[in-house]
């Protein structure tokens, strides 16, 4: 049924792990008192009436980090098979990985220099 061994347990545990929050929320729905409408349904803003919503155009300063993250995350994923098979590959693989990482370090240095890693 499963091509790879051990993944039937993954599927089973996924069902069980999903059942935990679902059961908790359903129990909560059944036993908790009903919500009364009114002021308690306002969003919290330090005790004031909320001034407008939060769904506005807004400068997300973290998007540069997200871009750099994608680069390095992909790099890490590429390095995983290399690390697992490294004991069979020897010196040549080490030099290849060195070149690969060096290219990415240049990218990191560029992003650093350009100020992509500055918060302000």
């Amino acid at each position: 049924m499963f091509v790879l061994p051990g993944y039937d347990a993954f599927l089973g545990f996924l069902l069980i792990a999903t059942a935990v929050p679902v059961l908790a929320l359903v129990t909560n729905k059944l036993v908790a008192p009903r919500s009364r409408a009114g002021e308690r349904q306002l969003t919290y803003e330090s005790g004031m009436e909320p001034m407008g919503g939060a769904w506005i155009q807004f400068n997300i300063r973290y998007y540069m980090f997200a871009l750099v993250f994608v680069i390095f995350d992909v790099e890490t994923v590429f390095l995983y098979p290399w690390a697992v098979a490294f004991h069979r590959l020897g010196l040549l693989a080490f030099i290849e990985a060195l070149i690969f990482i060096a290219i990415l370090v240049v990218a990191l240095a560029y992003a650093w220099r350009k100020g992509a890693l500055e918060w302000s």
Partner: protein, 384 residues
């Protein structure tokens, strides 16, 4: 050419107790087919691990309250049960019967889905936590990589709940949580990579086996001291523990992405963060502190006492010692995390991002390359 073609050394450790084999064989003895026996077996370890995770959280919450009280010269919980041990359960029960408030302007579906998405991957990651040679739910081949990929689902849930609340504090908290999580994920994955390179396998069982040749001396923490520190810092940051609890910095953001949450949904966040803390501590002990290994190899002890490791009694004792050792190591780290929380000030967001990108990332890359170089020069000391 320094190609190392030495075949993997034969396993130094005994196969140990295999409850699944015994259980399915017993069922097959009753005339059931192997598939049916396997299906009956499957839910048992899952239920056990789930209960262990939840009990682990209750213990951790109690420890947190008691230790924080001690750090502030208070007594802490004392009425619910002896020394207040039932306090976390009482908290949970209270949250279960609390009213569920969804703000009128929030997006109801995403608001509910957020905490669920935070909790499910954290529970699911317990799939690969080994408490013994065969004492885990499933020894999947990709093991530790599965955990890393599952842990990157969590920021989606945090971002979702921050956005769906339609609250400015929540939105900022959710964005911070996502930024922090992605900043520390790469050093974390790279330090795991160095360990993986030493054990030539992603499976958590193989990683522990590789460390238990000579007891405490062969634990990875001696060969990966830098990796250990990087992993621990990143694990704290991923769990949003002080000094890295910026997403819910009370003084700035009220409670971050949790601001609008009440009742059970808040409890899901709370449960998720504590399960994640215990899980991280367990993984540190698996990756760096020899997992279930006793400081002196059990095989040696059995040899000195003139017992065979394959004797059933010895196997049961070995397995029990293994579980105790795993939990003990993990709880030492949990204790350390709690002490850190109550004794360190919070870092600023720019310091946090600088630490992640400008210090830990180059350091973890260097650590990986040094490990690879050392493995080429001293293959036997670094896993062959």
């Amino acid at each position: 050419m320094v190609t190392n073609l030495a075949t993997a050394a034969p396993a130094l450790v005994s196969p140990g107790l295999d409850l699944e084999l015994s259980f399915t064989q017993a069922l097959q003895g009753l005339g059931l087919s192997p598939q049916v026996a396997h299906l009956i077996w499957l839910p048992l370890p899952m239920a056990l691990v789930l209960v262990a995770a939840i009990v682990g959280v209750l213990v951790t919450v109690w420890l947190e309250r008691k230790i924080s009280a001690a750090a502030q010269q208070r007594i802490g919980p004392e009425y619910a049960g002896p020394l207040g041990v039932l306090q976390p359960m009482a908290d949970g029960l209270k949250l279960l019967v609390k009213e569920d408030v969804i703000p009128a302007r929030a997006d109801g579906l995403l608001f509910t889905l957020g905490p669920v998405l935070v909790l499910v991957p954290v529970i699911l990651s317990w799939l690969i936590v080994p408490f013994g040679q065969n004492l885990l739910i499933s020894n999947v081949g990709v093991g530790i990589f599965l955990w890393i990929s599952l842990s990157s689902i969590q920021p989606i849930g945090l971002l979702m709940s921050g956005y769906a609340s339609n609250n400015k504090y929540s939105l900022l908290g959710g964005l911070r949580a996502a930024a922090q999580s992605i900043s520390y994920e790469i050093p974390l994955a790279l330090s795991v990579l160095a360990v993986v390179m030493m054990s030539n396998s992603l499976s958590t069982v193989d990683i522990v086996d590789q460390q238990n040749g000579a007891g405490v001396l062969s634990w990875n923490v001696w060969r990966q001291p830098v990796g250990f520190l990087i992993f621990w810092i990143c694990a704290l940051a991923e769990c949003e523990r002080l000094p890295f609890d910026l997403p819910e910095a009370e003084e700035e953001l009220v409670a971050g992405y949790q601001t609008e949450y009440a009742g059970m949904k808040f409890a899901l966040f709370y449960l998720g963060s504590y399960i994640n803390l215990v899980l991280s501590a367990l993984l540190v002990s698996v990756l760096y502190l020899g997992g279930w290994g006793f400081p002196i190899p059990v095989e040696w002890l059995a040899g000195w006492l003139g017992q065979s490791v394959d004797a059933p009694v010895v196997q049961v004792i070995t397995a029990s010692v293994g579980i105790v050792m795993t939990v003990l190591k993990a709880y030492l780290l949990v204790f350390l995390a709690i002490l850190l929380r109550w004794t360190t000030p919070r870092v600023r967001i720019d310091q946090l991002l600088d630490l992640g990108w400008k210090f830990l990332l180059p350091l973890s890359l260097a650590n990986l390359l040094i490990t690879a170089a050392l493995k080429l020069v001293f293959p036997s000391a670094f896993g062959g």
